[in-house]
């Protein structure tokens, strides 16, 4: 089961307006940590199975493929953890 989790993201806006996520900020029972987006595999417009749609950044984060969405003006990630 996947959940929709809105998260803070540190991103770079290029001079042409292109948005690149650099770090995601993840908070759980162990505290708040910053994870580097190691590589962006694909960028495309898509809808998400957890609801909503936007620009999908398929990224490698700590060795795993993650689906990170830029939805209108905020970020969410398809997460295996509800909170």
């Amino acid at each position: 089961m996947l959940y929709k989790r809105y998260i803070p993201v540190i991103s770079l806006i290029g001079k042409e307006g292109e948005v690149t996520p650099l770090f995601i900020i993840w908070a759980d029972e162990r505290g708040t940590r910053k994870y580097k987006v190691d590589r962006i595999l694909h960028v495309r417009q898509a809808s998400s199975q957890v609801g909503g749609c936007g620009v999908l950044y398929e990224c490698m984060i700590t060795g795993k493929v993650r689906k990170l969405f830029y939805e209108r003006n905020r970020w969410f990630i398809e997460s295996t953890k509800p909170y």
């Binding site: 417009q45 898509a46 809808s47 199975q49 609801g51 909503g52 749609c53």
Partner: protein
């Protein structure tokens, strides 16, 4: 040249957008509806589960709850609906420069001249449909035909991401047994009148005598006959080309029932001021004033009158509404039963010009002054907020008149002609 027109319809639009945002809503009966507390309690859109309970668009929340007590009501998020429907149209616009919106959720797309760029128009239409689904998570039904009327009819035939082609070869066969009201522009009243003539299907309409139809319905009779025969050939408007405005109207379901003329007068002032401001903003003047009243038993009546000179003044629109009321209810200017909702419209619009007939009585001078007064009030409202200046009559009951038609009504229904 044979045209290829697509009509794309976002199925149960508001409800589908809510489901896209929150997929769990697909598993429960859900509808998008107004606020019952402020008496805007009607169903605007419902999902498939709610449909199974027989819930209909435009029925009251009370009736809907009676049919399905566990119905989940979501209040409308118009900002989202406008955003996502525009995103859908952005996809269409990648394929054609002729995309004409018809309300938020519908659009015609002309693919006639896109073959050299994108290949077979039918495949292009399929691609658009799939892209909307994959990129935005929304399903659209499409009708593809050689004119706008049959394209629209096609998209209505299959509401679940349908794809219906009505060609010049098969349109007779496909439409033969369909009810006349599946044609655009034919509503309840026309269907009833056609029924009286023994015409209930599009096939029968096609075989009817156009002279008889013209005699019974005027030029519109001929128009619907042409539609049934597939003669409609109006172009799909280019992107950015707006439909010409035919009327400006505002209405409100009041927070409480209106008991007398004073109550109604207050509401009329707020509505007419908003209409006049819109008229001035678009440099238009109107010459027909119409008034629509609905009482607390939901019985509705409407009246309209043509006025001697076109106007963009709230004061004159209010005055003409009063005249209409006086005509209909000479004693009290108010119907027998308390009123629930009121709307005012101004139509027969044309561009404002400063030419006027020789002014013998100084009326024009007075109108000019009124115009300056109303424009100034509007400027103050725009700058400092709508509550900063108002007519004294409106202040008699602030609760009743605390609504702002200009800001509240973001989405307007569109008319076909």
């Amino acid at each position: 040249m044979k045209r290829t027109i697509v009509h794309a319809d976002l199925n149960h639009c508001y409800a589908q957008i809510e489901e896209m945002k929150y997929p769990a809503l697909r598993n429960v009966p859900m509808a998008v509806g107004g606020h019952e507390e402020s008496r805007h309690g009607i169903i605007l859109a419902k999902n498939d589960k709610a449909k199974e309970y027989g819930i209909k668009t435009a029925e009251t929340l009370r009736d809907a709850y009676r049919k399905c007590p566990e119905l989940l009501i979501i209040h409308p998020n118009y900002g989202d609906y406008m955003y996502y429907t525009e995103k859908v149209k952005d996809i269409y616009r990648e394929y054609s420069d002729r995309v004409e919106s018809f309300g938020l959720d519908e659009a015609w797309i002309d693919l006639t001249h896109t073959t050299s760029l994108f290949g077979d128009p039918l495949l292009t239409a399929r691609t658009m449909q799939e892209r909307v689904y994959n990129e935005l998570g929304l399903s659209v039904s499409m009708g593809i035909s050689f004119n706008k009327v049959f394209a629209k009819l096609g998209s209505d035939l299959d509401k679940r991401k349908g794809f219906t082609v009505i060609s010049e070869d098969n349109f007779r066969e496909v439409t033969e047994d369909l009810s006349v009201d599946s044609l655009i522009f034919i509503g309840g009243a026309t269907t009833r009148k056609l029924g009286e003539l023994g015409i209930t299907t599009i096939g029968e309409l096609r075989n009817a005598d156009p002279v008889l139809l013209k005699r019974r319905f005027g030029k519109n009779g001929l128009l619907i006959w042409h539609y049934a025969c597939g003669h409609e050939d109006s172009p799909v408007k280019r992107c950015g080309e707006s439909r010409e405005r035919k009327s400006i109207s505002h209405g409100i379901t009041a927070v409480r029932d209106l008991k007398n003329y004073e109550d109604l007068h207050m509401i009329l002032i707020v509505l007419c001021e908003a209409i006049a401001a819109k008229l001035r903003e678009e440099e238009l003047e109107g010459q027909v004033v119409s008034l629509y009243l609905r009482d607390n038993e939901l019985y509705a009546c409407s009246m309209q009158k043509k006025i001697s000179h076109p106007t963009d003044l709230a004061e004159e629109i209010v005055k003409n509404c009063e005249l209409l009321l006086k005509q209909r209810y000479p004693a009290t200017c108010f119907p027998e039963k308390p009123l629930r909702s009121v709307s005012v419209g101004v139509s027969s619009l044309h561009k404002k010009d400063d030419l006027y007939l020789c002014d013998l009585c100084g009326v024009e001078e007075k109108r000019k002054r009124e115009n300056v007064l109303e424009s100034t009030m509007e400027a103050i409202r725009d700058h400092y907020g709508p509550e900063k200046i108002c007519r004294l009559a409106v202040m008699m009951d602030r609760k009743l008149t605390d609504f702002h038609p200009k800001e509240d009504h973001l989405i307007h229904p569109e008319s076909w002609l």
